[in-house]
């Protein structure tokens, strides 16, 4: 694999490991990036004095000044378009779009310029920028506050799309994203903002690499963002029922880590893809399709997916019906031709 951003400054402080929420890890990553590179600036709606509606930019303005973290007028195309110009002129903008439905006004700028300017200029101009978007549901938010729009970005050539599922990855992937010469859509699973975990600031992440989140031999669950803890929970329940379930945290939605995923699924012969977004023409369907194609001879059963339904995101009182849950994942696992493998039945 040729994508590597291992060049992140390694922090030598002895206190490099501590326990914190994903929100705090993201905040720390921003602060450390601002300190490390004078061209890194953070901006967007309410990221200044307020510290962002999720407090991811908490205290950055107070600590580093308006010059490093500031509020903009309320216009997402403006925010992203301005970032494009700044990146053209040597800066490394990190912008926050408040909720992922509110990234949509910036869609033209993202698709027509952020994703394409590097290619358009034959690399003459690169777009080292990060667009941070809190995504996903499960927080009881009203309409437009819980969408999962990763498919729009992952489908767009030129964009790198990543999503962390742990505080450690939140820190390390965000540092890697900011250090990347290419534009990164950084999707933050808002449901996990307050989940705590250890963060070692000296650990660097490589964009483009999936992570084996749990070992297992019978079936592989492929998930990202908020679906990773769900997959781990399902794996735990399945284990109690005697099944050994492997969990892969995709992390990098684009580029995709075919190597890791293919090896994993070939070993177990069964796979379920899990994601909150509507399944149709989605990242989940992509993963399903490529696993099918690359592991065809190794599959004991069709690859399944457990995704959000193909409906507008559910209102708070109904979202538990809409989102993938442990039972739905277990049902999908159960459907994977366990006793009488269909391949034996159907072949010859």
């Amino acid at each position: 694999m040729t994508i590597a951003h291992d060049d992140i400054r390694v922090d030598e402080r002895s206190t490099s490991v501590s326990t914190m929420s994903m929100a705090a890890a993201l905040n720390l990553a921003l602060a450390d990036a601002i300190e490390a590179d004078s061209e890194v600036v953070v901006f967007g709606e309410d990221v200044g004095a307020l510290g962002g509606v999720f407090r991811i930019t908490d205290a950055l303005t107070a600590r580093f000044g308006e010059d490093r973290c500031f509020d903009t007028p309320l216009a997402e195309s403006g925010i992203v378009g301005m970032a494009v110009g700044m990146a053209m002129n040597g800066m490394r903008p990190v912008v926050e779009l408040q909720f992922d439905a509110f990234a949509l006004p910036a869609f033209e700028q993202i698709v027509s310029h952020v994703a394409k300017l590097g290619n358009r200029t034959r690399g003459g101009v690169r777009m080292p920028m990060v667009i941070r978007i809190p995504f996903g549901g499960g927080i009881g938010g009203v309409e437009h506050h819980c969408d999962s729009s990763e498919a729009y970005y992952a489908h767009t050539p030129g964009l790198t799309v990543v999503s962390p599922s742990t505080p450690q990855d939140a820190y390390s992937l965000l540092r890697a994203a900011i250090a990347s010469p290419d534009p990164v859509i950084f999707l933050e699973p808002k449901k996990l903002y307050w989940t705590k975990g250890e963060v070692d600031t000296t650990v660097s992440a490589r964009i483009g690499a999936a992570r084996i989140a749990r070992d297992g031999t019978d079936v592989t669950l492929l998930a990202y963002g908020a679906s990773v803890p769900l997959a781990l929970e399902a794996a735990e329940v399945a284990a109690s029922e005697g099944r050994s379930v492997q969990v892969v945290d995709i992390r990098s939605l684009s580029p995709f880590d075919d190597a890791t995923v293919t090896v994993a699924v070939r070993a177990t012969g069964r796979a379920v893809v899990i994601a909150e977004a509507p399944g149709y023409a989605s990242v989940a369907s992509e993963i399903q399709a490529r696993v099918f194609e690359r592991c065809f001879e190794y599959l004991e059963a069709p690859v399944r997916r457990v995704t959000g339904f193909d409906i507008p995101y559910a209102p708070p009182k109904l979202e538990h019906w809409h989102l993938p849950d442990v039972d739905r994942v277990l049902d999908a696992i159960d459907s994977l031709h366990w006793e009488d493998s269909d391949r034996e039945e159907g072949a010859s």
């Binding site: 309410d46 200044g48 509606v53 439905a101 009203v142 309409e143 193909d310 019906w321 739905r328």
Partner: protein, 374 residues
């Protein structure tokens, strides 16, 4: 430099130097040759609306604390704009509100319990838009302004005299859709009044970060439509200015932009912490300009508002609040199949398959609950 060189008939588009005000903060009426003060009866109706609006705001905020509403963006302090917007319209007219405008929606006749369905979390909108002539409350900022334009276009095309009043905040004026809406409205000369409640903040971001223009009303000039500033805490002025704008629209005079100067007295929503970005003293200073106390003083001074009437209004407001509480304390029975019912008129095979999956799960869960574990 010769100032006259910069003047032309088109310059009449400029808004006034100061917001229109007809009752000052202490309740004293002022005179204005262009905008006569509404009569006492109208002002009493307005006052009644303000009392109810304030009660709705405070009741809703309480319901959030009690966990009965998911979130509430209060218009406490902006009630003159809310009630003014509703009262400025005739029955056949349409209102295009935002998440902040529940009081306007209710003042327009939508039952509070229905207006609050969105914020309660039962569904994305809870009232019959056609019955009340009120569009669903919009969340994506400024997007509804374009819907208002299209709606008005259709009405005008049919020769109806419908006027559409579209609401948005100061922050929303920065969005591209604000620009496109005002421009389309002007080019197609449709009967829309754009009413901006400039409450000083877009969540935490102050107006100074939103615009460098002398006022938001000045934006009208770039579209060739009239713009006006009004004291948004003076409902007399709001009614007069909106009234003129609505009349102009109705009589074929095209769209216009009204900017109300008001203030968001509470945090953006209950989820917000406004101590992070504004001084208490600033908030305090607006108490003096409260839309209720001002109109109350005026109506009591002029003798129109009797203690009996005050009591009556308070009782009516209390009734509304009680109805709200009762309605919201009930847990609605929401059918999960609704998730699939309205996505499209006819259900696709895919959605039917997905519903069957969910239906089986629900049945299974019911069985499991009845009979034991998974």
């Amino acid at each position: 430099m010769d100032d006259e060189r910069f003047r032309s008939p088109e310059d009449r588009l400029l808004p006034r130097r100061e917001p229109v005000q007809l009752i000052d903060a202490s309740g004293v009426g002022t005179t204005d040759e262009q905008f006569p003060r509404p009569d006492a009866e109208t002002l009493l109706t307005a006052y009644r609306g303000l009392v109810e609006g304030r009660r709705i705001n405070d009741q809703a905020s309480a319901l959030v604390r009690q966990g009965r509403l998911a979130v509430y963006p209060s218009s406490h302090g902006q009630e003159a704009c809310q009630v003014g917007a509703a009262l400025a319209l005739a029955e056949g007219d349409w209102l295009f509100p935002t998440y902040r405008d529940s009081v306007a929606v209710i003042a327009r006749g939508v039952p509070a319990a229905e207006a609050l369905v969105l914020l309660k979390g039962d569904w994305h909108s809870g009232y019959d838009v056609r019955a009340h002539h009120v569009a669903p409350q919009a969340t994506p900022l400024a997007t509804q302004l374009l819907h208002a334009v299209g709606f008005a276009y259709a009405a005008k095309r049919r020769g109806e005299d419908t006027v559409v009043l579209a609401l948005c905040g100061d922050g929303a004026t920065s969005e591209g859709d604000f620009h496109e809406a005002l421009n389309f409205a002007a080019v197609f000369h449709v009967p829309v009044v754009f009413f901006v409640q400039n409450n000083g903040f877009a969540i935490s971001v102050p107006l100074s970060r939103q615009t460098a223009a002398p006022s938001l009303a000045h934006k009208a000039i770039g579209y060739g439509i009239p713009g006006q500033r009004v004291d948004g805490n003076d409902i007399a002025a709001v009614l007069a200015v909106l009234g003129e704008a609505v009349e102009r629209a109705r009589s074929g005079g095209g769209p216009s932009l009204v900017e109300a100067h008001t203030y968001r007295m509470q945090a953006h929503t209950n989820a917000d912490d406004d101590t992070r970005y504004r001084e208490r003293a600033e908030v305090q200073s607006w108490i003096e300009r409260d839309p209720l106390t001002r109109l109350r003083a005026h109506l009591r001074d002029t003798g129109a508002l009797t203690p009996e009437l005050e009591e009556e209004y308070a009782a009516a407001a209390e009734e509304t609040a009680t109805a709200m509480r009762e309605a919201l304390n009930e847990d609605a029975d929401i059918d999960p199949e609704d998730l699939f019912r309205f996505v499209t008129e006819a259900r696709s095979p895919q959605l039917e398959e997905q519903w069957q999956l969910l239906r089986r799960e629900i049945e299974h869960t019911a069985d499991a609950t009845a009979g034991g574990a998974r």
